[in-house]
């Protein structure tokens, strides 16, 4: 039987009994409404989380540090040149870049604590970081005055430095440090810029008490090291951060020949706290709506099935006649399935409209981010059709299996 005819006949059969059809639609409509809201709220929350994660992660990406310490250790405790392990290398960095999926770029870093920094007669014990120019973008940390380190500074192992504001104040007081000459562990550097103030990190450490120099200068001219203190890994997709962190851990264990129970000589840190954003009201509401959707779709489906069974019973003679004039079993099956799907699809589409409106109202009332996407509509349509097929197939099969003679005999 031709599809167009099947659909036309399904529509006609349904419009012949409007009350019944509306009853059949109701459950599906409620279910799809709930489902649409779930998807809208879920995607809204997701978008919000992604936006937040994107910001936080770019400021705080995966950090691989050369240290046997536990994850809970402070970011720089017991690390850095001379104190940490010396197994993290440029080869590790290149391996992470080339072998771990979802990695956009990996950046080398060197740190040394207890560095003596001098300007004329002033001196301070601070922290030296060997960095690359990309650091500015990664950390979202620019200079307030002067200039940032350049690629040429790195390639030319230039003796130039950026000062944190705390360190700058200690050494220079009110004086402008840019262009001045300082000594870092007795090597002369020119101050190229002063960094924007960052304040203290969550652990209470003053981020502004440091001097930053090109990593090449740090490694070759100052401390003569070939290893790295840390590798900062930037991701393509921050939402896939946990898998990527796991892949990096696996790769480094292989490269460093670490088999548990042997302890890692590195640590991979991620800002795990962010995952908590998902919790709270959004999760509770989603769970509630999921239950509502499941129950409504189930009940709606059962209503559809029952009424379809009644309808098959009432239309037995029609089925017999259709069989008598040449309908095959599959034609009858298709006809009743089409009716079931037409009703659930129609119910579902109403549900989408109500759901979209509901999501908007909910978003406004509860100050909850909601996002209506084509995926939400697609999910609703697919579920509507699935319910129609799932609960229509039994009545349709009953209809298709009727013997033509018995069906025609029915009054």
């Amino acid at each position: 039987m031709k599809t167009a005819v099947t659909l036309r006949e399904a529509h006609r059969a349904l419009s012949a009994n409007k009350t019944r059809s509306l009853l059949m639609m109701l459950g599906v409509t409620i279910g799809i409404t709930a489902l649409t809201i779930i998807v809208a709220v879920g995607q809204g929350a997701n978008a919000q989380v992604s936006a937040r994660l994107g910001k936080l992660w770019s400021a705080n990406p995966i950090m691989v540090t050369a240290s046997a310490g536990s994850r809970s250790a402070g970011p720089h405790m017991g690390m850095g040149v001379g104190t940490g392990s010396q197994t993290l290398t440029y080869e590790d960095l290149r391996a992470i870049e080339s072998e771990v999926p979802n990695v956009r770029k990996a950046l080398p870093g060197l740190i040394k604590t207890d560095v003596m920094v001098k300007y004329r007669e002033q001196s301070a014990v601070s922290e030296a970081w060997g960095i690359t120019p990309e650091f500015r973008e990664y950390r979202d940390w620019d200079v307030e005055s002067g200039e940032y380190l350049s690629d040429e500074d790195v390639s030319g192992t230039a003796r130039v430095a950026l000062l944190g504001q705390t360190l700058a104040r200690k050494l220079f007081g009110e004086e402008d440090p840019v262009g001045a000459s300082i000594r870092v562990d007795n090597v002369a550097f020119k101050v190229k810029g002063v960094l924007v103030a960052k304040g203290a990190n969550p652990a209470g450490r003053d981020l502004d008490d440091r001097v930053m120099i090109p990593i090449t200068t740090f490694a070759r001219r100052l401390y003569h090291v070939t290893y790295l203190s840390n590798i900062v890994v930037q991701l393509q997709d921050v939402t896939r951060m946990p898998e990527t962190a796991a892949a990096i851990t696996k790769l480094l264990r292989e490269r460093h020949h670490i088999i548990p129970p042997k302890q890692d000589d590195f640590s991979v840190r991620t800002p795990e706290v962010m995952m908590e954003v998902f919790s709270g009201t959004t999760r509770t509401l989603t769970l509630f709506l999921e239950i509502v959707a499941a129950i409504a779709l189930l009940v709606g489906g059962l209503v559809v099935m029952n009424i379809m069974l009644v309808s098959v019973g009432e239309r037995t003679r029609e089925i017999g006649l259709r069989r008598a004039v040449g309908a095959r079993r599959k034609d009858i099956l298709a006809q009743f399935l089409a009716e079931a799907v037409a009703i659930t699809l129609e119910g579902g589409l109403v549900g989408v409209v109500v759901g979209v409106a509901g999501a908007k109202v909910l978003g406004a009332l509860r100050d909850m981010p909601t996002l209506i996407s084509w995926q939400a509509v697609a999910v609703a349509v697919i579920f509507s059709v699935l319910v129609g097929v799932a609960f229509g197939v039994y009545p349709a099969r009953r209809a298709a299996r009727l013997h033509p003679v018995d069906a025609l005999r029915m009054e």
Partner: protein
């Protein structure tokens, strides 16, 4: 051509076997007009169902144009019903939510070929209902409904028309109009098989097969079949609408 040999249809009624049709042999050539007559319970309906390929024999063979029906699967039987047999019922069996024209078109929906609109309209015109194409069945009289049903039976141009008590629910005039159409179809070369329990109706056929208890008890040619057209002409005018 219809050829039945030793055909039985056995029903299981609460553990008891009932032979509704019992070892029946029947041969109907193309172009014949056969009436099957018998009291209720004689096996008329069962024979009709078998002839119409709505059912298959329990025993024996039924060949339709040389093809053994009992060996066909359900889809093939559906196709035979669709293309080679036109069925007319006592109760018309029109679908109430469809217009006369759509009812006539119904077999086309399940057909393989591509026939459409004009064929259905022509079929309606052939039974004198061209003007009522867009009426609903409940807007038509019984006789008109039965003529729509005949148009439906003819839409795929079948060689065989099977009519099961086609006049049973109709008044005399309407019944005769239906018989007139059936006689005309037969004159055009179609095989017509008519099931009835009324002798007067059966006498419109050229051959009468009598059934009793699932067997053929008589099979006679009708020397002078009644002409429905003449009978209609003789009906008193005031009976006419």
């Amino acid at each position: 051509m219809i050829e039945m040999q030793h055909v039985s249809k056995i029903y299981d009624m609460g553990g008891q076997q009932v032979r509704a049709v019992n070892g029946m042999s029947l041969r109907v050539e193309g172009g014949e007009f056969v009436a099957i007559i018998g009291p209720s319970g004689s096996g008329k309906s069962t024979l009709m169902n078998l002839l119409a390929c709505l059912d298959t024999p329990t025993e024996g063979t039924y060949r339709l144009d040389g093809e053994e029906v009992g060996k066909l699967d359900d889809d093939a039987l559906s196709r035979v019903r669709n293309e080679r047999i036109g069925l007319v019922f006592q109760s018309y069996n029109l679908l109430p939510r469809m217009t006369a024209l759509e009812n006539v078109e119904l077999p086309l929906v399940y057909g393989v070929g591509h026939r459409d609109g004009p064929a259905a309209r022509q079929a309606l015109e052939a039974v004198g209902l061209g003007e009522r194409a867009h009426h609903w069945p409940n807007q038509l009289s019984g006789g008109q409904q039965q003529r729509v049903a005949i148009a439906r039976a003819l839409i795929n141009d079948p060689a065989i028309v099977l009519a099961d008590e086609p006049t049973g629910a109709l008044d005399t005039r309407s019944g005769l109009e239906v018989m007139d159409i059936l006689q005309r179809l037969n004159r055009e070369g179609r095989t017509v098989i008519l099931v009835t329990h009324e002798q007067a109706i059966a006498e419109h056929a050229r051959r009468v097969v009598s059934l009793r208890d699932g067997r053929i008890v008589a099979d006679e040619a009708v020397t002078r079949p009644r002409e429905a057209r003449e009978e209609l002409a003789r009906l008193p005018q005031e009976v006419a609408q």
